[in-house]
Symmetry: C2
Subunit: 173 residues, 2 copies
């Protein structure tokens, strides 16, 4: 048993070193270039609901915000700033009239998610994303990250919500 445990412990220790070196590698003393989230976090579609949203106007969007366990705990306990490890996902769909529901209700009233438009993420890592308030922003269309110009547009807008650690979405009870 010891022969198995010892190499595992060594591997774990090495893995820990790699992880802790990760965020620092590539950083200069004064980090200026923002880092983006370019990989979709695993299993986000199974996360719990934070809230939902309807953006009218040009966006014409229905959205659901989901949070990983760290996010849900922080939301429910009112923790601010959000701890490292928090991930918030925003699943956006077109705001589509549901002919099927309207026929049943007998009047035009029902809007449901149409085609997915984009999926966005906020990942809290106060070291890796120090240049953007501790949050890494990710923006995906059809599962692929958008270009850097579009990624850059997230932070300046979220930065206006300083009092709530750059997070717009409130928790829906």
């Amino acid at each position: 048993m010891k022969r198995i445990m010892l190499p595992l412990a060594v591997v774990a220790a090495l893995a820990g070193m790699v992880v802790s070196l990760g965020p620092a590698s590539g950083q200069t003393d004064k980090q200026t270039a923002p880092a983006f989230v370019t990989t979709i976090p695993d299993g986000y579609r199974d996360w719990r609901l934070i809230s939902l949203s309807h953006e009218a106007g040009n966006l014409n969007s229905l959205g659901a915000m989901l949070g990983n366990d760290v996010a849900i705990k922080a939301y429910r306990e009112g923790t601010l700033p959000y701890p490292d490890g928090t991930i918030i996902a925003a699943l956006h769909y077109s705001h589509a009239a549901s002919e099927e529901n309207d026929k049943i209700f007998g009047r035009p009233q029902s809007f449901t998610p149409g085609a997915p438009t984009n999926t966005q993420f906020m990942v809290k890592d106060s070291v890796k994303y120090a240049a953007t308030g501790g949050w890494g922003f990710g923006f995906f269309i059809d599962g692929k990250p958008v270009d850097e110009a579009q990624m850059k547009s997230c932070f300046p807008c979220h930065a206006r919500e300083k009092a709530r650690d750059l997070v717009f979405t409130h928790y829906a009870p």
Copy 2:
């Protein structure tokens, strides 16, 4: 240890008998009176997202539909009819303009959940709820079940969606 285990096993067996007798008690050969869901299912706020909805007009509602594990599995695998044990929760809130978001976006466009309006459930139990297509309907305001007249209004409307086992909501990818 045995002294503790034996009474527990007996208690568990008795509890099982009570549970299995539960749905049958009060049933006549021809069940006519519908049964309703009058207790809020445990832990529903932690369930996974099925989809969301916006009902305009009089309802003026934003809603999130969550499903227990049986529901999510059935949705993802396209199982019809939904198996016994399926529970679908609909969390409804008022469709409220978010002044806070609109100020940040610089235009009126953002609607988020206002006060909770009601929470509804569909519970699949083909024996207990045989009189209403195998579904028990529950309708709660401020955590309390509404009166029977309002409870009765659920089934006739859902019954129009026979092709999809009385369920309006589609799964949002």
